[in-house]
């Protein structure tokens, strides 16, 4: 059996000089060739999880970690070579002072033994596979000479250049024109299938997850609060936070009606809580919610971290 693309086990992260808890006991896995969604409000810890997996946490402020991360069966610092990262902002993600060929050739040669000419050839092939017309012209260009969609394809090419086992896409389409969003998503899906890549797709957009991902994790306040097959979670969310998140989908709200944003905000890392992080925004909160809750599993696959998971569940929406 091939190794999982990604296994995260009981991963905990403390950040900043005050070592505030940013991620709690995160368990997460992505199979080879599988696309998995990670959703949650702004500030819930999605990007920190992604950067942790890729080994890209900024060193300046410092951090401590506990738990295990394995990518393509590889642990420790060498797992970095197994991860391809697609960033949100295609403009700022590329170096404005260097031509595309320099950036791609350097990336290719950083991960494998190849002379410049071979690497450049490979770069052109990669761009062609990503449906970029006239790869030679793209290679000779600077980032500012390309459109947003083209730049994002170059970013994807950079992510694929090291032949990774896992692709992490952190809001890959948020900064793009609506017209090219679907193209880029389809491209990521096709590449995952062709290369048998695991994909961790991070987004605010439930529709993107519904379109792309077979399974789904919901993150809140540094905890995974719910996980399961996408169809099942979307149809019958068990955690009150997931239900609130789904209720705020713009396309689910009747035209003209106000979008029911979730009251309150994600607690800052410094806010001390015992028990459920969602307690001060939850309509169902009761005394026991202030003590740590266990994970509950329904039907083997649908996990939720809530004292009342399931209560008022599927029929609430």
């Amino acid at each position: 059996m091939t190794a999982l693309a990604l296994e995260v086990a009981e991963f905990t992260l403390d950040v900043g000089t005050r070592r505030l808890r940013a991620l709690n006991d995160v368990d997460l896995c992505v199979g080879a060739g599988e696309i998995v969604g990670l959703i949650g409000e702004s500030g819930s810890g999605k990007s920190l999880a992604a950067l942790s997996i890729a080994g890209l946490l900024p060193k300046a402020t410092g951090h401590t970690v506990a738990g295990a991360i394995r990518v393509g069966g590889v642990e420790g610092a060498s797992r970095r070579a197994q991860v391809g990262f697609i960033f949100q902002e295609p403009m700022s993600a590329l170096n404005p002072a260097l031509r595309i060929d320099r950036q791609l050739v350097d990336a290719i040669r950083a991960r494998r033994d190849a002379d410049r000419a071979t690497a450049r050839q490979h770069a052109a092939t990669l761009l062609a596979q990503l449906e970029l017309p006239d790869p030679e012209r793209v290679l000779r260009s600077y980032p500012h000479q390309l459109s947003g969609g083209m730049r994002q394809r170059v970013v994807i090419a950079l992510a694929l250049s090291g032949t990774p086992s896992l692709l992490i896409a952190d809001e890959p389409t948020t900064a793009l024109d609506v017209t090219v969003q679907l193209d880029v998503l389809r491209l990521i899906r096709d590449q995952a299938r062709e290369r048998n890549l695991g994909v961790l797709l991070i987004t605010h957009d439930v529709n993107v997850v519904a379109y792309m991902a077979a399974r789904l994790y919901v993150m809140y306040g540094g905890w995974i609060v719910e996980a399961g097959p996408t169809a099942q979670v979307l149809a019958a969310p068990r955690h009150p936070y997931t239900r609130a998140l789904l209720a705020s989908r713009p396309d689910r709200v009747a035209r003209g009606a106000a979008i029911p944003a979730i009251d309150g905000f994600v607690p800052p890392l410094a806010a001390v809580t015992t028990g459920c992080r969602f307690a001060d925004r939850c309509a169902l909160v009761e005394a026991r919610c202030h003590t740590p809750s266990a994970l509950t599993v329904e039907g083997d696959v649908h996990i939720a971290r809530c004292w009342k998971a399931g209560a008022g569940g599927s029929d609430a929406s």
């Binding site: 890729a54 890209l56 300046a60 970095r80 070579a81 991860v83 391809g84 990262f85 960033f87 902002e89 700022s92 993600a93 590329l94 170096n95 404005p96 002072a97 260097l98 031509r99 950036q103 350097d106 990336a107 950083a110 991960r111 260009s141 600077y142 500012h144 000479q145 390309l146 459109s147 970013v155 950079l158 992510a159 250049s161 090291g162």
Partner: protein, 347 residues
């Protein structure tokens, strides 16, 4: 992007033309300024030339001969016409044409300032990069302290200190001038190191270099501090940008990220601010040249000021202004090399 599709060569050419025209306007302003200042500053050149014991009639006659009694605008017109013929007037002290004296002394200053600039960039860039990359670390603090000391120390003081230490106390360096007595330079470019190198004259090269070390160091030390701080600040800003994280994610080595991916982007703010610092370098060369009896433009200007030698003061000011304007033009052009967004049209 509007006119973005224009031929890049055409765009560059029109940019060049516009900049050269602007430079001319600045230079005309400079001629007016030097002219006016030299006629407003107290001290009568005619009196000065005639000497303290000359009678009033004698001075008036000299003033008439020099054209100093004519209306200002007429005098200015004569001055500009002469300028256009390459005539900057004659030195009141030596009677020699100012232009020739300036051209004789120019190579000494160019060699001194050029090497000082080269040395400061060559030392400051790696220092600044290391300081930014090693942050926070004791090394960073040490470098910051060093550059603060270097910035706050006047150049003439550094020059005196170096002279006192390496010539006075240690006797390691030659005292002053460009060459030891008895050596004759090769007449090529006037840059002694370059000329002796081209002619393969190692004895001359060694001697010229030995004479250059202290004045170059005196000029460069202050710049190293400033330049290193500019590079450090620019690098810190660039290193926090998204594309650096992309380069890290792609597995590009830290050394390459620093020396290519970040430095390329840090050069633009560096060149901008370093260009402004050049004025300080020009100014510093006046005192440093005087301390080391360096036969360049700086010491020439200082002597002229002390003698109220107006033709020389005006000539040097004009020359330095031209030099400064040309350097600024080169800096503007270099932006287009450093930042592709200014050069190539958007697609």
């Amino acid at each position: 992007m509007g006119a973005g599709r224009a031929d890049p060569l055409m765009a560059a050419a029109s940019f060049l033309v516009r900049r050269v025209l602007a430079t001319f306007v600045v230079l005309i302003a400079v001629t007016i300024l030097t002219f006016v200042i030299s006629h407003v500053i107290p001290g009568d050149p005619a009196q000065l030339i005639a000497g303290p014991r000359a009678g009033a009639a004698e001075v008036a006659q000299l003033r008439h001969a020099l054209g100093l009694d004519r209306p200002l605008h007429e005098q200015y017109a004569t001055y500009v016409v002469a300028l256009l013929h390459g005539d900057l007037g004659a030195s009141i002290v030596t009677g020699q044409p100012v232009l020739r004296e300036i051209l004789d002394r120019l190579p000494a200053t160019i060699e001194l300032m050029g090497l000082a600039l080269l040395l400061s960039v060559a030392v400051a860039v790696p220092l600044g990069v290391i300081a930014a990359a090693a942050r926070p670390s004791p090394l960073d603090t040490v470098l910051r302290g060093l550059s603060t000391v270097a910035i706050s120390t006047p150049r003439f003081w550094v020059a005196m200190l170096l002279l006192g230490l390496f010539y006075g106390a240690l006797q390691w360096a030659p005292p002053s001038g460009r060459l030891s007595p008895g050596l004759t330079p090769h007449e090529l470019t006037g840059l002694l190191t370059l000329d002796s190198l081209l002619r393969g004259d190692w004895r001359l090269l060694r001697d010229a270099t030995a004479h250059l070390v202290l004045p170059v160091a005196a000029l460069a030390i202050g710049n190293i501090g400033t330049f290193a701080r500019i590079i450090r600040a620019a690098m810190i800003e660039v290193l926090a940008q998204d594309h650096i994280r992309t380069a890290r994610a792609a597995g590009i080595s830290q050394a390459r990220i620093l020396s290519v991916y970040a430095l390329r982007n840090a050069l633009l703010p560096f060149v901008t601010i370093a260009g402004l610092e050049l004025a300080g370098l020009l100014f510093g060369s006046v005192t440093v040249e005087s301390v080391f009896a360096w036969p360049g433009i700086g010491s020439y200007l200082l002597d002229a000021i002390l003698d109220l030698n107006f033709p020389v003061i005006m000539g040097v000011t004009l020359f330095v202004s031209i030099g400064y304007a040309v350097i600024n033009l080169l800096i503007d052009l270099s932006y287009r090399c450093i930042d592709p967004r200014l050069r190539a049209p958007a697609g």
